[in-house]
Amino acid sequence: MTASERTGILAAIARTRHGAAADREAAVDRRFANRPSGPRLALVADAMKDGASLADVFAAAAIRSGASVVRAASAAEVPETLRALWRDTGLEGPIVHADDPLCAACDDFAPSHTGAAVGEDRVGISRAIAAIAETGSLILASSAGTPTTVNFLPETHVVLVAEADIRESLEDLWPELRAKGEWPRTLNQITGPSRTGDIELTLQIGVHGPRALLIVVYGDGR
């Protein structure tokens, strides 16, 4: 592009818009300040009326999306839960995991490493920064210790998430992320395993991303 192309496009748009430029700038400023939310879905609140916890609603939605969910009472129980999950599911390494002691619980089962995932890795273990009950989604953020490739290259993705980090909807999460003052390069909202309908619209699991998504939800021990 040339600098004049940018100017030209913006000017072509501006010519057709109504109102003075300053007023429209002000309208955009207001939108950014107020950030109105659209309609929220009643489904989470409805489920909780029947006595389910936010974690229960999340787990049910995640299972509907094709993920498996196991629960642990507290962070202290996560390593044992992970090891049991490994054995029960018959997983095989190599492992790549986030730079996080909780994610290292299976290190003696198979060769393992931290850092970016490579093609040979079979299992990726990460920790979500949040989860969304409405859709059963996990939210993962890239950082030095939590590379994004761990979420996509291995066949099996195991994700830990604290009950305390589960939110009803995305709108509950955005203000918390904004408050951190800077964005990670990548935020992944992950809902179930990789899937496609590209051959005859037939649903198939595990195209390019993980074939299996295993979630460990842990409480605060109370």
Partner: protein, 473 residues
């Protein structure tokens, strides 16, 4: 490859209707896509409310589009992205090729992007010596078959699995010739293995974007396969290609649009992967792109602002209108001879490519209204198609006979007494000519009666009957 052209729509459509394989494939659209959407909309009592909210968001985005684009530009640039505004397809192609050249790239992986289809990116990159590889399973299949996509979200929906197997055998000669490719699973496994090596070797990854968030500079990418994420994370350079109307103001707005998109496109609450990315890998990060570019394309969209077709800029490319279109269900996507197909395509193609080339498309519509009913952005598609029809007529792009026919009809419609007299005579004549209650041919409506029988009036028009009824009291 034989690429069908919009200007041959009637012949294309006729061939499509006679194509048994295509007809079998189209059956899936009529059932699976429609049922999935119907089911989830029924389970979402807030759906109508969401539609109003979604349309209002895009109205706001379009109302202040230039301001939002500048805010997006500033936010993305601050986080390491380079933003390129491109006026047309040529400028976008050249910009992208220049980036690939600067990256010293050979292999370029691509996530599914209709915009790159619109600008004809792949042939251009190949001519410049790069190797673009489509990684969305459907796009990969049609790239190997050297065909254009036939649906904006299911590009290979016209291909049967036996044809996919043939295509893979031809394209992957190093695999054992006697391997089993008879099942969906075997095809999937082979595609996964083949594309894995490309993901890992790629120098540049190109993806589209479902939204650009003006507030934060995020590109939002929605996929089910995860190919878009491998495409944007593994290579050292990520190029996002998006058109100007992909803007939404805030993350809250993105959340509303996402609720509509998954439900309308595939009947999902949420697609498997929704990725928000902005800029380059941060200090200390060990993966993600070291350079990141956002190419923002106009290509005639700014000309749609302020006129009869501005509403089209709310389109989120969900495909619901296509899935519910009776014309698409019968002729498939290729007959439209364009990148965008079905109702949204019949509006967009004339606006992007000119009415001369696409004059048949606004007429490829029964005015059933289903598309507008299901559109999550409340886009009045039939109304716009009608306006485009008027334009084809005014520009004399319709046949002279049908224009004379319509002129005669207009003359009569404006003179009710004359019309009544003539239609009484007409009814009598038709009863004389038509056998068994149907007319097989009718002057000046040859195209129409070639495939349809015109029912013969069974005596007395509406006005006659109404008068008789009145007389009876």
């Amino acid at each position: 490859m034989t690429v069908l052209k919009s200007e041959n729509f009637p012949e294309n459509a006729r061939a499509a209707i006679g194509d048994a394989k295509l007809q079998a494939a189209l059956l899936n659209i009529r059932t699976i896509f429609r049922n999935n959407r119907t089911r989830i909309v029924a389970a979402t009592p807030e759906f109508e409310e969401l539609r109003h909210a979604g349309a209002a968001i895009k109205r706001e985005a379009v109302a202040n589009l230039d301001v939002y684009l500048q805010r997006f530009d500033a936010a993305a640039t601050a986080q390491g992205a380079e933003v390129h505004f491109c006026a047309d397809a040529k400028s976008a192609r050249e910009t992208i090729a220049a980036i690939c050249l600067a990256e010293n790239a050979k292999l370029v992986t691509k996530g599914k992007s209709m915009i790159t289809e619109e600008i004809g990116l792949n042939p251009y990159l190949i001519a410049k010596g790069f190797t673009p590889v489509e990684t969305d399973l459907g796009e990969y299949i049609i790239q190997l078959r050297d065909e254009p996509p036939s649906h904006i979200i299911a590009p290979a929906c016209h291909v049967k699995k036996e044809q996919v197997a043939e295509t893979f055998r031809a394209a992957h000669p190093n695999r054992p010739a006697d391997r089993d490719l008879s099942t969906h699973d075997s095809l999937l496994a082979e595609a996964r293995a083949e594309l894995r090596t490309r993901f890992l070797a790629a120098d540049v990854g190109i993806t589209g974007a479902n939204m650009l968030v003006a507030e934060t500079g995020h590109a939002v990418l929605v996929t089910n396969e995860g190919n878009g994420d491998l495409t944007q994370t593994l290579p050292r350079c990520h190029i996002v290609v998006a058109s100007i109307e992909k803007i939404v103001p805030t993350l809250e707005d993105a959340a509303t649009v996402l609720r509509l998109l998954g439900r309308s496109a595939t009947g999902q609450q949420s697609s498997s992967y929704t990725t928000l990315s902005v800029g380059t890998r941060r200090a200390g990060e060990v993966d993600g792109p070291e350079s990141c570019h956002v190419v923002i394309l106009d290509n005639h969209r700014s000309e749609m602002l302020g006129g009869d077709y501005e509403d089209m800029l709310r389109c989120i490319r969900c495909g619901a209108c296509i899935n519910h279109c009776p014309i698409f269900a019968n002729v498939g996507g290729h007959a439209f001879g364009a990148v965008y197909v079905g109702p949204m395509g019949s509006v967009l193609t004339p606006l992007l490519k000119g009415l001369e080339e696409a004059h048949y498309l606004p007429h490829a519509c029964t005015m059933c209204g289903r598309c507008a009913e299901v559109c999550p952005m409340e886009i009045p598609l039939p109304e716009m198609l009608r306006k485009l029809r008027n334009q084809t007529h005014a520009q004399e792009l319709t046949s002279a006979t049908s224009r004379r026919g319509l002129a005669l009809w207009t003359y009569l419609a404006e003179r009710p007494r004359l019309m009544r007299g003539i239609s009484r005579i007409g009814g009598v004549v038709m009863r004389l000519v038509g056998r068994r209650g149907a007319l097989r041919r009718w002057p000046m409506a040859g195209e129409w009666t070639r495939f349809r029988d015109l029912p013969v009036p069974q005596g007395g028009g509406f006005v006659d009957r109404a008068n008789k009824a009145k007389a009876k009291g």
